[in-house]
């Protein structure tokens, strides 16, 4: 039986350096090791990697250093991830879906990260407050887990 732990938010603060993504992955792995299904763990890893990589690569004006705070919390059968950063305003929930390519030759490289976030998270909300981007992602556990 997989134990469900409710409450107990965990927080990680990252800088805008690509090397920080490895730290993020290890931290998520630690948080999801118990009480999270493999599919939700994968989805959380994927969505946070995409969201934080975007902020690291595009969030800062030249040479600016950013503060990226990531929080994970269990709330009944849902895992909630919050990402807050002081980078340039960017609302991924409003990014248009990528256009399907007609052929390999015409396919554009890139542009799939936000589409993956939309598909693998159960919900995604954005707000800009006090000069910060705040993105909330929700991941609902399959019923078999939350009913235990």
């Amino acid at each position: 039986m997989i134990a469900m732990r409710n409450g107990g938010a965990s927080r990680l603060v990252l800088g805008n350096d690509v090397a920080e993504l490895e730290r993020l992955a290890g931290w998520i792995e630690g948080f999801t090791r118990q009480g999270t299904s493999p599919d939700v763990s994968f989805a959380v890893q994927l969505c946070l990697e995409e969201a934080v990589a975007n902020i690291i690569m595009y969030g800062a004006a030249k040479n600016d250093s950013l503060v990226i705070a990531v929080e994970l919390e269990r709330n009944c059968g849902t895992l909630v991830a919050r990402i807050e950063d002081n980078g340039r305003q960017f609302d991924p929930t409003r990014a248009p879906p990528p256009a399907p390519a007609a052929s390999l030759g015409e396919a554009k490289v890139g542009d799939v990260g936000i589409h993956l976030m939309r598909s693998f998270a159960s919900g995604m909300d954005y707000e800009r407050r006090d000069g910060r981007n705040r993105l909330t992602l929700r991941f609902v556990e399959p019923a078999t887990l939350s009913s235990e």
């Binding site: 690509v18 090397a19 993504l21 490895e22 992955a25 493999p38 599919d39 994968f42 890893q45 994927l46 990697e49 995409e50 990589a53 990528p98 399907p100 390519a101 052929s103 390999l104 030759g105 396919a107 490289v109 890139g110 799939v112 990260g113 589409h115 993956l116 598909s119 693998f120």
Partner: protein
């Protein structure tokens, strides 16, 4: 993340990727992967031992497939039906790069 390559019968090169194909992993395999895509004609990319795939990894696969095609070669992927395959399909890669669940199926397709 690591990469190994092996020549199979029929002029096919099998590239085995292992580990986490995320931004960090993709940076490690990008150059050797591009080199194989440039030099070889028939390429099977085996993702069976890849336990995670994110958009930067997809980018490496897509660039490799484009390079192979641009010189008349072909690149196909072997991936079991798991979350990595779900990422490939969600990103629309299965419509651009042939995706097989077994090496036998991929080999047969390249030999045809």
């Amino acid at each position: 993340m690591d990469l190994s390559a092996e020549d199979l019968a029929g002029g096919i090169t099998k590239v085995v990727l292992r580990g986490r194909f995320d931004t960090t992993g993709a940076v490690v395999v990008e150059l050797p992967f591009n080199k194989i895509a440039t030099e070889k004609q028939k390429i099977i990319v085996d993702l069976s031992a890849v336990n995670f795939l994110a958009s930067y990894g997809i980018r490496v696969l897509l660039v490799g497939a484009k390079v192979a095609k641009s010189k008349g070669g072909s690149l196909v992927i072997v991936c079991p039906d798991n979350n990595v395959a779900k990422v490939l399909k969600t990103a629309g890669m299965d419509a651009l790069i042939p995706l097989y669940q077994t090496e036998a199926a991929a080999t047969a397709a390249l030999a045809a």
